[in-house]
Amino acid sequence: MSEDTCIALIGNPNVGKTTLFNALTGLRHRTGNFPGVTVEWESGSWKIGDHRIELLDLPGTYSLVPDSPDEAVVVDVLRGKEEGAPKPLAILAIVDASNPERNLYLVSQLLELGLPVVIALNMVDVAERAGLTIDAKELSRRIGVPVVPICANANAGLADLAGAMGRALKAGTPAPSLGIPLEQDAPDPVSIAARYGWVRETLSGAVTRSETTGPSLSDKLDKILTHRVWGTLVFISVMALVFQSIYSWANPIMDTVDGGIGFVADQVSAALPDGSLKSLLVDGVIAGVGSVLIFLPQIAILFFFIAVLEGCGYMARAAFLMDRLFAKLGLSGRSFIPLFSSFACAVPGVMACRTIPDRKERLVAMLVAPLMSCSARLPVYAIMIGTFIPAKAVAGVFNLQGLTLLGMYFLGFSVAVPIALVVRKTLVKGDSPPFMIELPSYKIPEWHVVLHRVREKSWAFLVRAGTVIFGVTVVIWALAYYPHSEETLAGYEAQRVEAQSAVTDAAALDERLSEIGQAQAGQMLRESYLGIAGRAVEPVFAPLGWDWRISMAALASFPAREVIIATLGTIFNLGADEDEASAPLREQLQKATWPDGTPLFDVAVALSVMVFFALCAQCGATLAVIGKESGSWKWAGFTFVYMTTLAYLAATATYQIMSRLIA
């Protein structure tokens, strides 16, 4: 036994596998109630006696004859064929004691791998409440491998489990085979029947069933949560609550962060002499990165809700409720999780598509996943809505700002409908897959898992803000600052000298100097490299109601869309008079004007910006992951082209219609 010794942890979905993994290795990662939520394997260090061995956490699976790429990973690892993963020397099989039959089916296949097997009989407490008592000793004698009763979420039985695994590793005896070889490609009905025959025979006598008293708590909850009327109402309310809270809960925290950033900018501004360094720090770094950081609270709240909904088992119900709708698109309820996750971020969303067994459905889900409004779009919506949409009450309880936000989320989803239909009928033809999904018992989400998830995602966002966004911000700042013509500066300096000698009244002089400052800032920006390039592309974006500054900000956001806020922050800060340079971006946007002095932004422009960002494929990471997961760059290219075209046309239509309606 050494550090290199590797053991594979395997079991059906929803049997507490990830909880056991965390309990054994102390390594924290998320657990979910949705079949197949653990898409990739992870490993951790498990202490057995005086030794530490490597424990590999594999995706939950029902069978070793793979039905999806997700399950193919499991088989590849177990056979030592997965690149980069060590070949396991033994198997730790986790079995749900409250559902022994279907769980032992997987065990019947594991026995054929020629490795030592130890069975962890989990949730014995839940099973007993359901009237199921399993005689672990008898079961162990019948199967011929150790069976250890545990409660992973209460850390019970783990020492016994380590002891049993230690002895199994030392002996190295392969589990006794049933003589039913594993099918190579498709499951064989005769083998399946033979395995279930073995399972039933093994369980009879080792399991005692007592009459339970009425329906379980899960059944009672499902009576309401999947009810025709109440279930639908709850579903809509849950979704509305998620989006409403993202907006209202985050606001006070955001104001605090906003104030903090303004304070830092003022301090730096006061401490440094005028010049390019001060401009880089204040206009570039603080204004740019700072305006992205503000959105951390909203991102944390969104991931919190996704983690809770997954952790409690509601996500599988959502798939059950939504399947009929998805069936109309040639998809299934299985696509609900990948698509709902894409509301947080399309990258994990596209990766979650691996849990969809049907190849065609998987591809369609991947192609429309980036249309779901991800958390990186949230900053754009938040700043535009917060600044330009009035906070009016609608129908008493709702807020116009919250409704607009909901509308933007709805837009992406409703556009995905025809796209999915068209793609399914043309590029990816064929029958819908048979829909089958397990509805696991409800659980109280494990709070440390939820909080870990929130922390992990927030950190990932911060890292992005510190790297990609920081980099783009500095580039944008440089393009907007240079060439920084001395000649132009001298011209405005001359105007100042002239004003100081000509105007004697102090108040009038201040006003005049401020005018000159503003004109200078605007002129310097227009003369910058960014200004020159921006005015060249301005006609392209004119139908959207944008000036060259918005256009440049949007173009700079193609690698990662949340860059828009940083870019707007930098551009409008540089274009502002120094006295107000540290004002929040909201105020800068409100004050921005066209050359003729009319306000740059109104509701129509704000909506056109939001619609563009809702539909455009501005995310290099998503396109890369689509290319990788679909196995072809063709699909990444297709996604980029269709989304960008759609965004341009829809934003144009929005501006043209809204500007006429408002005027």
Partner: protein, 74 residues
Amino acid sequence: MLTLDQLEPGETATIVALHHEASQQGRLLEMGLLPETAVEMVRRAPMGDPIEYRVGDYNLSLRAAVAKLIEIRR
């Protein structure tokens, strides 16, 4: 022929045979929908489809189109 999709909530029946294409049968069998197994219909989803069943000790939902190809007897 009596099929699984015809059950009403609370009704239990025994599977007689699966009439799906070979490629679709495998996973259904592996999930425990074997001939001679008792299955209880639990409820329909709000939009009428899919249908939730109790198979052994767990709950599984199937689309009506899939359940329609599972022959049962009461």
